[in-house]
Symmetry: C2
Subunit: 400 residues, 2 copies
């Protein structure tokens, strides 16, 4: 057994419900001078030090004075399987070129497709492992990652295998962009659905589509998602990043798990989403990276929508694996409280991945995934902007 | 001697001029497969590995494969001497209260004044040491810090001593706010200039004033700065953070080293600054933290102004010690290139501190302060948003 003792604070979303919405999103339970007791991969007990039960001799005790415990963070939207980087493009954009201009000029996603195809299976495995190690440093104990930089059969499947082998939750983003060897989006989808989907459905848990001007339109997205649903995959959509393109009604109709981005979502989309079971995944690091408008986080929460937070980690539009930074952006840019931000990247992110019964809370029976913050108050997670706020993580009961 | 060998890249502002402005700001010299050789506290040589001279046996060699070297970062604007934190205020503001509203309601600076007075000399020394250790992790090898949370004689002088003892460059921010025991700003300045300035001038290198609605007006700032100049201190001003209050013309007239903030500076202020020898210090982490407009970074550079970048590290409006994050914000929000950002927090920041002959460049004769980046390309400094991009630092020839 592993005992995290003398924690300055323990903070966790309360209850057992998922996803949390409205006022419940901000209901965080805080215990001062606390402990977390792990039995193998599972949390056995949490509470005040003064109520610590008598323990056997074979308990490994960790002195956590000066640290706060929160549930291991859950990053439910990343593109961690890629080769190369886009630092040249980043430096050019700093001088004024827009993301869409760079994309149209042959940079953008297709630049990374070339580098990812060149990386091969071993290169992809190394890349995902590296990115996974970066995420762990920032307190992420569960990560989702999408394929979508292969766009050919071998590289898409190699991406999904690399994600699975690194312990990630794989999503097949078969409809990310149209690769150059196809005349148009429909011709590419003919190939992807016939030749890649059958094997991708064995490796992935969900399918995702980039519904956007210049990528896939609503009818193409519908065709792709319906085929994926029929193959047993959960559904997700890149929605309203630059333009409102009908993703929210489509997601609601198809019973998707999430619509992700929402920077361009207007009032009607907010109302539709709030009245649905679909979770809105907000990616403020991407909006910051591209200097684009932030998604309407406060408005979505106040309207009653279920929201999650994620990094969108990828080489082009969010080279950022830090959920603590995302929480700082949620507090300063989206006007969520630190409590709402914490719930959004634990319980609600776990819900998007279909794992809310297992992760996202510090309570008996949940998986022993704990993020330890170097802080006197757990809200430093959002308050300590850009600081090294994560001290250690516990993953499945193992201190890293 | 210390040899940093097999660096993936070395990047440094070129030439010897300071401050750099206009096109020269972006002229960074990049050497692939490089070395840095330190002799005691001084850089002896830098160059390509292929031109490494023959060396004695008593050289300590450090394998720097996978790392890039840049000059040790210089943070020329921090408020690192404070007690307590403002995480309650931060959490409230996330829910909608403005900085000025919180300030007017008795929170804000005066909340930290109470905590700082309570900390005492030992508490302040511990706090500055802790903050210094955070800065080192983020690659800052030289930091300025201001007093200004004491506002009584003992605490102001204790703040300056704590900064000096931690190796920082002390600035007396005697005119930060009017403490509650004084009826008005003039009465407080009577006290500060008569009772604190004589000793502060022995400890500090510069004086600073918060010229702003609700703090000190232009005539009070003039009185304070003229007295400080006469006591031998260099001059700096908190300028145009929320409103344009005449700081730039005053700074130019008095020959100040810098005007800091500039979020509210308009066209005339930009022209006046660009035509002067005063450096504009931009603090984008503060604008982000407060969700306020960003300073006009690109426009200032294009107009020919000398600009520096700094964190503004403080508990209320920028709990952020990370210059790499500031460089990411400079690239994404201020539209400076990574090269311009690097020069702005090395050479130009060193110039603001009167140290540009000694620090801010990797070249023979400069102090051996080096920041090592975990990156294949030095521009990851700005590109790797919120990442742990700083691997190690060398301070005065000593590897930390």
């Amino acid at each position: 057994m592993l005992l995290l003792r003398d924690l300055a604070q323990l903070a966790t979303p309360s209850g057992t419900e998922a996803p949390l919405r409205g006022a419940a999103l901000g209901e965080i339970e805080v215990v001062d001078r606390a402990f977390v007791l792990c039995d193998g991969e599972t949390i056995a007990a949490v509470g005040r030090m003064s109520s610590l039960p008598a323990l056997d001799d074979d308990v490994v005790e960790v002195d956590c004075r000066g640290l706060c415990a929160i549930p291991g963070l859950v990053d439910c939207h990343t593109h961690a399987a890629f080769g190369g980087d886009r630092v040249d493009e980043f430096s050019l954009r700093a001088g004024g070129a827009s993301y869409e201009e760079l994309h149209a000029a042959g940079g953008g996603i297709l630049f990374t497709v070339r580098a990812t195809r060149a990386a091969g299976g071993d290169g992809l495995r190394e890349a995902v492992e590296l990115h996974r190690s970066w995420m762990l440093r920032e307190g992420t104990t569960t990560f989702e990652a999408k394929s979508g930089y292969g766009l050919d059969r071998d590289t898409e499947l190699a991406s999904l295998r690399a994600i699975r082998d690194a312990g990630g939750v794989p999503t097949w983003l078969g409809a990310h962009a149209v690769p150059p060897e196809f005349a148009d989006a429909d011709a590419y989808l003919d190939f992807a659905l016939a030749d890649v989907l059958p094997d991708a459905a064995e490796l992935a848990e969900a399918a995702d589509v980039f519904l956007e001007r210049g990528a896939f339109d609503a009818s193409q997205a519908r065709r792709y998602l319906e085929a994926c649903r029929d193959a047993g995959l959960a559904l997700r959509l890149h929605a309203d990043q630059f333009t409102e393109s009908g993703a929210i009604p489509l997601a609601v109709e198809l019973g998707a798990r999430s619509v992700d981005h929402l920077e361009a979502t207007g009032e009607e989309g907010i109302r539709t989403l709030a009245a649905s079971d679909v979770t809105g995944v907000l990616l403020p690091a991407s909006a910051l990276f591209l200097d684009r408008p932030m998604p309407p986080g406060r408005t979505l929460v106040d309207a009653g929508a279920a929201v999650a937070l994620a990094t969108d980690f990828n080489p082009g539009s969010a080279f950022c694996e830090s959920l603590p930074l995302v929480c700082s952006l949620a507090a300063t840019q989206l006007h969520l409280s630190p409590a709402e931000a914490l719930a959004a990247c634990t319980v609600n992110a776990a819900h998007v991945l279909g794992r809310a019964d297992d992760i996202g809370r510090l309570a008996p029976g949940y998986r022993a995934d704990v993020t330890l913050l170097e802080a006197p108050d757990w809200r430093y997670l959002a308050y300590h902007l850009g600081g090294r706020v994560v001290a250690r993580v516990v993953v499945g009961g193992e201190l890293r």
